[in-house]
Subunit: 244 residues, 2 copies
Amino acid sequence: MSQQSGGHACQSCQIRHLGVLARLPAEHLGQIAQTFHPHVITFGGQETLYYQGDSAQYAYTVRSGFVKLLSMLPDGRTHIVRVLHAGDLFGFEGIVGGKYAHTAMALAKVEVCRFAINELIAVKQEYPEVDSVLTQRWIQSLTKAEDMLVELGAKKTGERLGAFLVRWCETAPKGIEGWVPLPLSRVEIGELLGMTVETVSRALSEWKRQGLFQERGGFIRLPDVERLCANVCNVSVSEVLNVG
Amino acid sequence: MSQQSGGHACQSCQIRHLGVLARLPAEHLGQIAQTFHPHVITFGGQETLYYQGDSAQYAYTVRSGFVKLLSMLPDGRTHIVRVLHAGDLFGFEGIVGGKYAHTAMALAKVEVCRFAINELIAVKQEYPEVDSVLTQRWIQSLTKAEDMLVELGAKKTGERLGAFLVRWCETAPKGIEGWVPLPLSRVEIGELLGMTVETVSRALSEWKRQGLFQERGGFIRLPDVERLCANVCNVSVSEVLNVG
DNA sequence: CGCGGCCTTGAGCCACATCAAGACTAGTGG
DNA sequence: CCACTAGTCTTGATGTGGCTCAAGGCCGCG
């Protein structure tokens, strides 16, 4: 089950540079401690942080691990809307309408920082540095969501999967020799990219055979990104990374 | 061609209640006139306001008519990312990265209000009322984009088209007896929903035959929304309107 | 009247979903 | 240590929704 530590001091937070307080000068961290009361919580894989429609009091930042935000249709079909990395803010949409727009689940063991939405609002109003980070975040989230719209709306399965892998490897924390963690099952990749498990599996197997894709215990590697893009997406790497 | 009027006074703006200055008390409108210099510009149908990748100086608000934001893949495939109504803000993503993320085109004759991005930033920093409207707008845009992700990722063509029509008719300015303007061609509907013209046309024709959909000179009507949802989406109206 | 856009309709095909077995892996308990 | 089980992944066989290609119809306009 989830575990909650006591109140947490932002001063000693190792990932502060990734979070929404990144630009706040260190000398203000003491002051905000009076209004801002974050808690660090740990969740195990597949545990649910909150459900779509729940009344939203808290927003979160990922400290380590990965979280998926997903939306379910009445008949049970599931779509993963976003996958969150260290430093990402989520659950903040509760500020409008008071409800969470998605269900949030830990992909594996994850550590998050939880705080009251209205406390963050207060900090945002007080400190322009926080405000500007938040503004940037929202615009980036919006742009990313809209890029994904293009992926889903205009590309076919192979192109989507290829582009996803390339982007993931660019974005995710790099391990040794290009091995990056991929904490998503085939089913989840399918739910993210709007395709079935079987289609995901077939494409990945094929690329393995062609030496374009390698996998070992939850880590993956793309030995020849250039060729993957050329073969599969029929575009250059830069085009995959730029827009859709 | 586009036509630009001179400087415009926010005090006399008929749609101020829809725009980002909606909550700003009238007595401040005079003050901001010193830093905030909006211009009203008119564009004809299919005219381009700006191109994806252009350096972004200005953001816009729709005053009347409709604007589409679209993204193009290198090979020419086009996806419509958003359709904007009166009051909608766009082009503001230029604040991050300095470039427009999409191409903006007028769907028919459209009147927009254009202003420098940094002027809006200044107003936002000065007036909390403007700041809070902007915050709400971004979160709503994000939520809407993510809802659309679910549409494209998890639903099939008929469901997408049905949900789109129902939502459009709920959202758009209502005309007489439920007739609503729909300024999109079949091609454009396809580009928005990730399907071909032919598929759009076939579905609409079929629904016309069944009496679920009517059309007259750019206006449409859904005589029996309840049945459309039940037949096509296999869900209730509320479910179509809520999330996915 | 003829021309160029849109829209519609049909016929055929293909990418991808669906259905159905196995294969592999990891955890569990005797 | 080895069955037993359950979950995930792979692979094949089959079906079909929607794309593609191709014609023709219906405007509005010069």
